[in-house]
């Protein structure tokens, strides 16, 4: 198991190197093919009235005049050894792993990311929990009462959930629950969990539900299908033959088996959650990675983009690793191979 994790980690490092290198190529090579000079690139960060000399000065400061592999080397070096940056009057050391400073705001990237990570993690964790619970239980009930009013209503709502965009459901929820009824927190509210867990949950409740709504729908459908399959299995008949109460049969025998494929999807979704988080965070003005990445991309702010890419890849890598490990816990047949 230990060796397995180490191997996975080494693969992950490679992946991160490739992904960041690709980001570099997209960032520098593509505009260059379109005819942009280093100064053209620098002028994005130079303010509107900058003279050509100032722009050139900025190009040098940002290192755009160096060949792309030198710049990439500098980025990797910063990650491993740290780097020094000038704030004007002084030089500050950015300790490893240094993700550099924003081209635009000149804020260091890593502290910003770390500052925002808990927001996105909170959003993701709570959202995921809700969508798992809501989606799976809806799916189970639907499967057990196939064709019932509940089943049809739930599947209808599920269809709405997958097809309605987050900014629509989010803003609607905000208008109704926060501004009209006043029972949930207004947009932009966030309290760190270590400050006040209750407030944390209260502030995030609506974003959680919004995010969960999107995913719960899919999980309800998936669970329903999985449960219908599983409940026809021989071992379910065995469980019944033992005289187990139907609840135990459904939850401990049926759901347990139906959950395994859902876990796989869950891992993928969790890894790609940044996408959903971007929209939710934008809609609710939450200071998380999602909102940060939108700003990074809109402003062509390479260090921030790289930071987000790293975090995003890490999300995927970790989620996959966790799911693989969980899989071994859940499915003994995988464990003993």
């Amino acid at each position: 198991m230990g060796i397995y994790i180490v191997r996975r980690m080494i693969a992950a490092v490679w992946l991160l190197l490739i992904v960041t290198a690709a980001t570099f190529v997209v960032f520098f090579l593509v505009p260059r093919l379109a005819g942009a000079t280093p100064d053209d690139l620098a002028s994005r960060y130079a303010g509107r009235t900058a003279s050509p000399e100032v722009i050139h000065q900025i190009a040098i400061k940002l290192g755009f005049t160096d060949p792309i592999w030198v710049q990439y080397g500098r980025f990797v070096k910063g990650l491993v050894l740290g780097a020094d940056y000038s704030t004007g009057p002084t030089t500050v050391h950015c300790p490893a792993p240094c993700l550099g400073y924003s081209f635009l705001t000149q804020n260091p990237v890593l502290p910003d990311l770390l500052d925002r990570l808990p927001v996105t993690m909170s959003l993701a964790a709570g959202g995921a929990l809700i969508w798992l619970l809501a989606g799976v239980s809806t799916g189970v009930i639907s499967a057990l009462h196939r064709g019932s009013v509940f089943d049809r209503a739930a599947m209808g709502v599920a269809l709405a959930g997958v097809s309605l965009p987050i900014f629509f459901t989010g803003l609607l929820a905000l208008s109704v629950f926060s501004y009209w009824l006043g029972i949930t927190a207004p947009g932009g509210s966030y309290t760190p969990i270590n400050e006040n867990p209750l407030h944390w949950a209260y502030d995030l409740l609506l974003p959680w539900i919004t995010l969960a709504f999107l995913y719960a729908a899919g999980y309800a459908r998936l669970t329903r299908a999985g449960m219908l399959d599983t409940m026809g299995e021989d071992f379910i008949r065995t469980a019944r033959a033992k005289g187990l109460p139907e609840r135990t049969v459904v939850l401990r025998h049926g759901l347990r088996a139906a959950l395994t494929p859902i876990l796989t999807i869950f891992g993928i979704d969790l890894g790609l959650l940044l996408g959903g988080a971007i929209l939710t965070e934008s809609t609710y003005s939450l200071p998380g990675i999602g909102k940060y990445s939108v700003d990074a991309v809109v402003n062509n702010d390479l260090p921030k983009v790289l930071g987000v890419v790293l975090v995003g890849s890490m999300f995927i890598i970790v989620a996959n690793l966790v799911v693989d490990l969980l899989y071994a816990v859940v499915d003994p047949r995988v464990r003993y191979q």
């Binding site: 071992f235 008949r237 065995t238 033959a241 033992k242 025998h253 003994p332 047949r333």
Partner: protein, 341 residues
Amino acid sequence: MSPLLEVRDLRVHFPTEDGVVKAVDGLSLQLERGRRLGIVGESGSGKSAAALAIMGLHQPGTARISGEIWLDSTESGRADLVRAGAEQVRKLRGRTMAMIFQDPLSALHPYYTVGHQIVEAYRLHHDVSKQRAYRHAVELLDRVGIPQSGSRVDDYPHQFSGGMRQRVMIAMMLSCNPDLLIADEPTTALDVTVQAQILDLIRDLPAAVLVISHDLGVVAELADDILVMYAGRAVEYGPASDVFAAPQHPYTWGLLGSMPRWDRTRSQRLAPIPGTPPSLINIPPGCPFHPRCRYAELTGGQATSVRPELRPAGSPEHLVACHLPNPRRAQILADEIRPTL
């Protein structure tokens, strides 16, 4: 004292889009405590449907069940399971009646250890600690012949061979010492040497056993009585020795004729019953076997119009549902059938 199990005119009908599938259509049988009844019949004759009806394992909504199923349990007395509440039947399952299935791999839950699965059944009906239940599970595994049962109790089903899995199934079902064990094709998925071991195991059980198979050989090894089923009904029912010594129904003759035996040559051996099993939606009128029966014309047209009821033939306990007059049947048996058996 009433028999442990008494089934009267059991019908299991499945309404489907094509029509009502009459999987069991008027089955009656009796099983005394400590005895073993074998049900034989071709695939699709309704054996499993009948067994599941007794166990109350048909999904509500899919099957229409009528008739009577009287189970005389030591704990809760005699009750008609058709009319009893689902909860009452559930409580009898595992405790009073248990069932093992054909495919022991798919019948065991892949994600739980065998110990867990045995303990789960045991603790459901017995208020004992986990440790005691596990000790009980180890004893059971030992009893069904699983070596190193102490460590294997923590293994998962996929870590056992096919025969071992069926032993686990049996151990699981024996955990509560049921009065009735239904074994539906307990050996079909197993290879021959293992089959014999499992049959030995079942034979040594104290419970009354309802063993189901399309293999007469299996039934011959185990059963005190034999019930031959065709199109959802008994066509022949009697003590095993009588049925084997003097089979009465043309369908039984076919079954016995197609039975593999070591002393037959290949050409002699496989004399299958001509034709295919009947549609259960449109069961042939009269004797359902008549489209495949060589002797149908000998009944003077009755075979296609009147459904034959079980009546004694040969001995009082030996029943057969066939219009052939008894003397004629005895003659056919003596002249045509016995030489090939």
